[in-house]
């Protein structure tokens, strides 16, 4: 396997993008990535496109070919990757493997989701497919409901409080406030979260990531050729993924996402790095409790200790460890198929020193953590600036 670098990134503004459809979103992010990488369309060898449920949201499948066509990549192989909310991270990993293997040189990985053309309850149904359709969704268990079951148990076992969960949303809105691509740039308080409408108790609407339109694209190339395109290639130093039971009921624990722990351990092993080497992380905060569990399962805090640390401000921008500088899924938005790719875009900007007001000082190593469903898939990447 050879070294792989990200040489270009592009993102759309996230939010309710009524004026633009699926293909427009892909083209917007794709064009930005091509301009950033300074490559022409005919240099691209292969495409991976990710959406979770474009068929449910807009009736369109087969989106990778659409992405390749929209960006003018004539007839290159294009393949869709679907792994629920971890589709983007999984597509990035497939692109990495294809490039690292030597099978192809330049790979474009694009994630997209166009979610706001359907009603909220239709979106709830579509997202429910990330869990077990027959034994969860068909029993009336919504996707927030699954995380609510985890949250309640986490509160019971570790004394985690609703106010501590709310603090995750408050912090992520602080970061989103500084990100022009974010869906929500408004500052919120713990009180705002506590008083927001209950969705699946103990989770309230401000504990939940929103319904979002958006796309993200990255361009991968072998590291030894990356210097031709950019002075600041960002090396993918590890790419790890794990799976678990689709249904929550079949897991070993409700308070741990085991796939995250396995993928993280593998990622640190591949990178030959420790937790202390990480300067920033984009974690999968689809719900506030998910960020708390992620910080534990990724190995940054012992089980039961992340909630207090987050509430104490340890993971705010430029505090002990900067977490979700983009605003995370909560404030930046969560176009499900795009999220895993967007996490990589944010980390690349940070490692290049291009993150503006939300720049993590001296950032050299960053991490992304993307989860599918209630934890049936977890994908972890570690990225590093090379000089």
């Amino acid at each position: 396997m050879r070294d792989v670098a990200i040489i270009g990134v592009g993102l759309t503004k996230f939010g309710e993008r009524w004026e633009v459809g699926l293909r427009g979103l892909m083209a917007e992010a794709g064009l930005a990535a091509l301009q950033d990488a300074k490559i022409s369309s005919d240099e691209v060898d292969m495409v991976y496109g990710s959406t979770m449920a474009s068929g449910r949201f807009v009736g369109q499948e087969h989106v990778a070919a659409m992405l390749a066509d929209q960006l003018g990549f004539n007839n290159v192989p294009a393949t869709r990757i679907e792994n629920a909310c971890a589709s983007g991270g999984s597509a990035l990993r497939q692109g990495y493997i294809a490039c690292a293997s030597g099978a192809v040189d330049m790979v474009v990985v694009g994630g997209v989701e166009k979610m706001t053309d359907v009603t909220t309850s239709e979106a709830t149904t579509a997202l429910g497919g990330a869990g077990d359709q027959e034994w969860e969704l068909a029993q009336g268990i919504t996707f927030p409901g699954l995380y609510a079951l985890m949250a309640r148990r986490h509160m019971h076992e570790y004394g985690t409080t609703e106010e501590q969960m709310a603090a995750v949303a408050v912090k992520n809105h602080e970061n989103g406030h500084k990100n022009k691509y974010a869906q929500y740039r408004k500052l919120i308080t713990v009180d705002d979260v506590m008083k927001s409408k209950v969705i699946a108790d103990p989770l309230k609407v401000l504990d939940c990531s929103p319904i979002t339109d958006g796309a993200a694209v990255v361009v991968l190339a072998p590291l030894d050729k990356a210097k031709k395109y950019t002075d600041t290639p960002i090396k993918i130093v590890s790419s790890a993924q794990a799976s678990d039971s689709l249904g929550l009921a079949q897991r070993e624990s409700l308070t741990e996402i085991k796939a995250t722990r396995i993928a993280a351990d593998d990622a640190f092993r591949q990178a030959k790095l420790g937790r202390g080497d990480i300067d920033l992380i984009e974690v999968h905060d689809c719900f506030t409790i998910a960020e708390i569990m992620a910080m534990e399962d990724l190995g940054f805090y012992k089980k039961g200790q992340a909630a207090k640390a987050i509430a104490d401000g340890e993971t705010r921008l430029n505090a002990k460890l900067s977490v979700n500088t983009s605003g995370g899924l909560k404030a930046c938005g969560h176009p499900v198929g795009a999220t895993g790719v967007k996490q990589a875009v944010e980390v690349v900007w940070q490692l290049r020193g291009e993150a503006g007001d939300r720049q993590v000082k001296g950032a050299e190593v960053g991490m992304t953590h993307n989860v599918g469903g209630s934890g049936a898939t977890a994908v972890v990447h570690i990225l590093k600036r090379v000089n």
Binding site: T120, S121, E122, T124, T125, G128, E134, W135, E136, L137, A138, Q139, G140, I141, T142, P144, G145, A148, L149, M150, R152, R153, H156, K197, V198, I199, A200, D201, P202, L203, G247, L248, A249, Q250, L254
Partner: protein, 131 residues
């Protein structure tokens, strides 16, 4: 979302009678049934196994923002139930005036789950009742 009649029919032994399966080789009990035992792989010897329906609440939530299918039923309570035989099962906790809490004892009851529109199938399913 409508459920295909055949889909409900395929699951009826589980959803009406709480029948899962048990591996005669290693003793693992599964609900819902599996084709292959997680421990024994292709050596699996899985046989039908009916759960007693007894269990306790391991976690719970009250759903106030449901999917389309359940939009007329909200709010309703969902429990993660630890069954007496071991497997965890997620399902509705019926409102019988008792307070749901972690550790509360439950048993299964058969109830109407939902209907496919005015004239479609009515789906029945186990739910959990607080004792």
């Amino acid at each position: 979302m409508e459920t295909a009649p055949a889909s409900s029919w395929r699951r009826q032994n589980a959803s009406y009678n709480l029948v899962g399966n048990k591996c005669e080789k290693c003793g693992a009990v599964y609900f819902p049934s599996r084709i292959i035992c997680k421990n024994c792989g292709r050596e699996s010897k899985l046989r039908e196994h009916k759960l007693s329906g007894d269990g306790e609440v391991y976690s719970y939530t009250k759903i106030t923002a449901p999917s389309d299918t359940f939009k007329d039923d909200a709010p309703y309570t969902i429990g993660m139930i630890k069954t007496a035989e071991g497997p965890f099962i997620e399902g509705h906790v019926v409102d019988n005036g008792k307070d749901v809490k972690i550790g509360a004892k439950v048993r299964t009851v058969l109830r109407r789950m939902y209907a496919d529109g005015e004239e479609g199938l009515i789906h029945y399913h186990y739910k959990f009742e607080l004792i």
